[in-house]
């Protein structure tokens, strides 16, 4: 198809490059440098979508990121991207886009029927109906509303593209590369400070590309090009196109999105977009201004466009937006659109200005109507004619509207800033309370003349250089063409029939705003929420000020009295994938592996996540088809002979210093001051509120040297807590902490043959006989010919057991060597499942019991709370509710019918009582199948449990519809006297 609306010459498109693309299935051609919107307009495509609520035909409205109408689904398959602004989508060969939000076809949308019902669909109508009969809301009304609402569709497939993030640092971030941004960047760059210049467009220049004004006797766009080249040549300047600074965060940190491959047919495995965190000393917002419309009847018809957009299409893209264009304006810029278009050979039918006195000369052939108002438009899928107050009809296929310009103050109000009303330009300009280090220059600051924009950019940069104590570079003043920009506020046309739209995307009309006011929604926030004004994907960029003005008129107040309109980040919508960056799928979080991981992998381990760690869950041997077979075997083998378990993941903290003993004694509830060198002790760490924070074994390796172990889950928290105690509570204690979790690979060797196995490795000068190295002994020894080793005779399994730690580099080898040495005993590696079975058999608590809601008394460890010293948590652990006699106690459970299986999470109810909260006596925390006892066993908290041994209660599990009778037993299922571990 030919580009019938492409102007014969001019523009910044690359005519040598013809790109084929598809829209709604039809093939078209465009040029390099086009956006999808400009290419569609070049091909005469006027209607590009349907509106949100009434499904009215809509066309391209603007030429920038403020576009409310032309939202399309871009690309296909898993890369389908809904709600993409055609005005921002850079054209590439093979681009495939579709219109959205209709049922049937774009031209014949079945939901267009909504438009006929519009009198009944006024603002907030849904709050007043759909209530009867009650079930109909969820079954009928809501699904229908949901199906009709929404805009584009997600592909429902995982996003196949990759994203990345990064950090940048600069002295000055210049946001927007229009005239003021370029001028500011040039000044700052020449002064030698570190500058980042970012612009959302793929072409530097901003309005210089859209208009025809010259700078320094060059065409504006040529000057922008030259400036870009100069900036790019400076080492201290980074120019970033396709980069939207979307948010201003605390202390000069900005968020920006750089679209790296969106303009290419394929991302080729490279990041599609990069999220930059930009750390700045100062930022200059040079984000320009956005044009707004005027509300008049049927002002939403395709072909009704913003005048500045029409001008940009003609100048930058060499596209005529119509064969005959009329202008409706309340300010001078509408007239410049007319003259630019006329100069390009696009006929101007009429200029309708709401003001009385004509400011400029009209192009030849154009009718001029001063004090005029457009009261209606006609045309099925595109405007064909407009009607003026007084009844005059003008034929035209494009109506360019300018209601004035609103500075893009968005970033200035991302923190506390409130824009203030400036009557001279009938717009909000940045108010006080701006983000730290932020300045605003140019049109974003309400300065519209090109010459003044250039000067403002420079002056703002000079001001910052001065704050830095730097001299500005020599002033080679920029000179520019001038154009008039005076405005006389005019908001909406009262004459005429038909709806006058304010927020095009959310279909909010003047009537809706008035109705909201009539119903008492008079604060701006109420108006927004009730009418949905400004809540669409454009955050009301072309609508908010207009809506506010209409609300002000309705309430008979001035605009400043009525309120202001602020913006939340992001400036324009940002893909969630980009904000997540690489952190998705398997790379959501890092993986921690023990040094023995590779050995385990080779030996049949199935791994399980334990926080960030991967731990061997069980080691399947040939012929084992169910995890229980492996687990049972590991438990039996360990208890019968010897088993080996990688316990590297436990937190390990070296505590040294003259006051190390005193320090340890204060953070544990039980006594550690008198722990002899060469001994370990099990300890409880409480929070200051008296509940248990963590537990573990701490060994005294020397007079002033302890090594504390923590649970895997709490390693980081406990270290932080210890540092808090050390630095904030007892800064005078001579004690130092360092984590050695990573330094040591640690394995448990458990079972009657543990010592025999270990003796084979231990170097001869160390005696680990039971006499020399009894239960709870520890020491620094060496194994395998001098490898430094920490040995602890501690037991989690209840067997004769040791934990051996060697430097991590030997960790993988250690597992192999232990197995080799254990071969004669039939040693088995065991995983966390078997570990769990054995600890339940011994009644040891882990995370399910130490869940932050339980006290030492609840755990049956009340005796571990010393009354002879101060320790963290001591005072509050004595509170009434924590020392009550009828509190929870950790006990063991067995099913009365041993064929039945216990379930963790069941609640205990006395037999014969109803299953209610009031009768709830506790819950089952952990369960396991004990291959030794041949029954399911469990641990749990139940009221007064320690005095109810032998009682039977119901373990109620209504959730899984299985409630069974269980017996309360001692939590020490195996070897309650502890003979084995002392063997």
């Amino acid at each position: 198809m030919t580009q019938a609306f492409r102007l014969a010459k001019g523009g910044l498109v690359d005519r040598s490059q013809t790109l084929e693309f598809r829209f709604d299935g039809a093939a078209y051609n465009g040029h390099g440098g086009d956006t999808l919107a400009s290419a569609l307009l070049a091909n005469g495509v006027r209607m590009v979508g349907r509106s949100f609520k009434y499904h009215r035909p809509r066309g391209i409205f603007s030429a920038g990121s403020e576009e409310p109408n032309a939202l399309v689904e871009l690309r296909r398959g898993a890369r389908q991207e809904p709600n993409t602004r055609a005005t921002m989508a850079e054209l590439f060969g093979g681009l495939d886009a579709r219109s959205q939000n209709y049922r049937g076809s774009l031209k014949y949308d079945l939901l267009a029927v909504n438009d006929l019902f519009s009198p009944f669909l006024s603002a907030g109508f849904y709050y007043k109906t759909f209530m009867w009969p009650k079930p109909f809301w969820e079954k009928l009304y809501e699904p229908a509303i949901r199906a009709a609402a929404g805009l584009g569709r997600l592909s429902r497939e995982p996003d196949p593209d990759v994203y990345d993030k990064g950090y940048l640092h600069c002295d000055i971030l210049v946001i927007g590369a229009g005239p003021s941004g370029l001028s500011a960047a040039l000044t700052a760059g020449r002064a030698g400070v570190r500058v980042i210049l970012a612009d959302e467009d793929f072409r530097i220049g901003g309005r210089l590309n859209a208009e025809t004004l010259g700078v320094n006797d060059m065409a504006g766009s040529d000057w922008a090009d030259a400036t870009r080249a100069e900036l790019a040549s400076m080492d201290n300047v980074r120019v970033m196109t396709r980069t939207t600074v979307f948010g201003a965060y605390d202390h000069g940190v900005y968020g920006a999105i750089e679209r790296q491959t969106d303009h290419l047919p394929h991302s080729s495995g490279k990041p599609r977009q990069v999220l930059w965190r930009i750390y700045t000393r100062r930022a200059i917002v040079c984000a320009g201004a956005t044009e707004r419309s005027i509300a008049f009847p049927d002002n939403d018809r395709p072909g009704v466009m913003l005048a500045g957009g029409v001008r940009a299409y003609a100048n930058r893209f060499a596209v005529g937006t119509g064969r005959s264009v009329s202008i409706f304006t309340n300010n001078d810029t509408g007239w410049r659109t007319a003259s630019d278009l006329s100069a390009k050979g696009v006929p101007i039918a009429a200029i309708i200005d709401t003001r009385e006195i004509s400011p400029l000369a009209a192009p030849r052939g154009a009718a001029v109507v001063m004090g005029g108002r457009v009261t209606g438009t006609k045309g099925r899928h595109c405007v064909r004619s407009i009607t003026l107050a007084g009844g005059q009809t003008i034929e035209c296929d494009c109506l360019a509207v300018s209601g004035g310009w609103s500075p893009n103050v968005h970033l200035t109000c991302h923190q506390r800033g409130r824009p203030q009303w400036n009557e001279d330009i009938a717009a909000f300009t940045p108010g006080g309370d701006m983000p730290f280090g932020m300045r605003v220059a140019g049109a974003a600051n309400g300065i519209y003349s090109l010459q003044n924009c250039l000067a403002d950019g420079r002056e703002t940069a000079v001001g910052i250089l001065d704050e830095f104590g730097l001299n500005p570079p020599a002033d080679d003043a920029l000179t520019a063409d001038e154009e008039a920009a005076s405005i006389s506020a005019f908001w909406h046309v009262r004459e005429g029939k038909g709806r006058a739209f304010v927020d095009l995307q959310n279909d909010v009309t003047v009537k809706d705003i008035r109705l909201s006011h009539q119903e008492g929604f008079r604060s701006v926030e109420h108006l927004k929420r009730y009418s949905t004004l400004g809540m669409a994907t454009d955050q009301g960029r072309t609508a908010n000020v207009l809506g506010l003005a209409i609300l002000a008129q309705a309430s008979g107040k001035s605009i400043p009295e009525t309120g202001t309109t602020i913006f939340r980040p992001p400036y324009t919508p940002v893909a969630i994938g980009a904000i997540a960056g690489r952190s998705r799928g398997k790379e959501f979080r890092s993986v921690r592996k023990t040094p023995g991981h590779r050995w385990a992998e080779k030996n049949g381990a199935k791994f399980v996540e334990s926080g960030l760690w991967m731990r061997a869950q069980w080691f399947a041997r040939e012929g084992e088809t169910h995890w229980r077979q492996s687990c049972d075997r590991e438990v039996r083998q360990t208890r019968a002979s010897v088993g080996i378990c990688d316990v590297t993941t436990l937190g390990k903290i070296d505590i040294q210093g003259r006051d190390a003993a005193e320090f340890v004694n204060r953070v544990y509830s039980n006594g550690f001051a008198k722990l002899p060198v060469g001994k370990c002790r099990y300890g409880l760490v409480l929070r200051e509120d008296g509940l248990v924070m963590d537990d573990g074994t701490t060994a005294r390796l020397g007079e002033n040297h302890f090594v504390m172990t923590t649970t895997t889950a709490n390693a980081v928290t406990v270290f932080r807590h210890l540092e808090f105690c050390r630095q904030c509570l007892w800064p005078g204690l001579d004690v130092h902490l360092i984590s050695v979790t990573e330094q040591w690979a640690q394995a448990a060797i458990a079972g009657p043959n543990a010592r025999k196995l270990l003796e084979k490795l231990v170097d001869p000068d160390h005696d680990i006989s039971s006499d020399a190295f009894p239960f709870m002994a520890c020491g620094e020894i060496s194994v395998c010919g001098g490898v430094p080793t920490r040995l602890f005779r501690i037991s989690f399994s209840g067997e004769l057991a040791y934990e051996i730690a060697v430097p991590a580099r030997y960790g993988n080898s250690l597992m192999a060597v232990l197995m080799q040495a254990g071969e004669e005993f039939g040693a088995t590696p065991y995983g966390v499942e078997a570990l769990n079975v054995m600890r339940i058999e011994k009644g040891h608590a882990t995370g399910s019991e130490l869940n932050g809601q339980t006290s030492a008394r609840d755990l049956g460890l009340g005796r571990m709370m010393s009354d002879r010293k101060d320790y963290i948590g001591r005072v509050l652990s004595q509170r009434e509710h924590l020392v009550r006699e009828d509190g929870l106690k950790l006990v063991g459970f067995k099913p009365v019918d041993t064929a039945q299986e216990l379930k963790a999470g069941a609640h205990f109810i006395a037999k014969g009582k109803e299953m209610t909260t009031e009768n709830d006596e506790g819950w089952m925390t952990s369960v396991a199948w004990s291959p030794n006892l041949q029954t399911s066993i469990g641990l749990g908290f139940i009221e007064r449990g320690d005095s109810r041994i032998g009682e039977t209660v119901i373990a109620a599990d209504p959730l899984r519809e299985k409630s069974i009778e269980v017996e309360i037993v001692s939590p020490h299922f195996i070897d309650p006297e502890g003979e084995r571990l002392r063997g």
Partner: protein, 187 residues
Amino acid sequence: MAEFDLIAESPLNGLQRAFEGVTVEEVSGRAIVSVAFSDRAGLEQAVRTSLDLTLPFVGNTARVETRDLLILSLQSDQIFVLFPQTGHRPDLEIAEIAGDQGLVTDQSDGWALLRVSGPGSRTALERICMLDLHPDIFTVGAVARTVMEHLGVIIHRDGEQSFLLMSARSSAESFAHAVVTSVENVI
């Protein structure tokens, strides 16, 4: 006991990747010993005596070329000393230097070391390192502990275009992946 030998393995198996303008390689064979101290002046004296060196302040490093020894000052009361690993007890070697002025802990096995070097290294690290690595700011010799891709990392600039990175051994593979991905994303 020669019957059972423990074999040492490096955290990253000697990883080495060369890209256009950037090389990523594991650094192994370095002993790392932390020295905690309560009396800075005391340790300073000890270090000056035995190494002829002034103790660097936090964020700085010092080198003893003759012994291939590098001191990273990371906390106000703690330094790391890096030097060639020769025996089983590098901590004792440093204890000799520190005397009773420092509490030593062997950290040699706790860390994976990567060197990222070449003209593109800063651009690659920009993707994961939140510190400003501009050569005027993070000068040659500077060291800092920070976080990259959720992982704690010690970064030291040991040349105009060369960075030594240290991260926990257990997550070494994730860390190396993060670094390599950063390079791949910018070349």
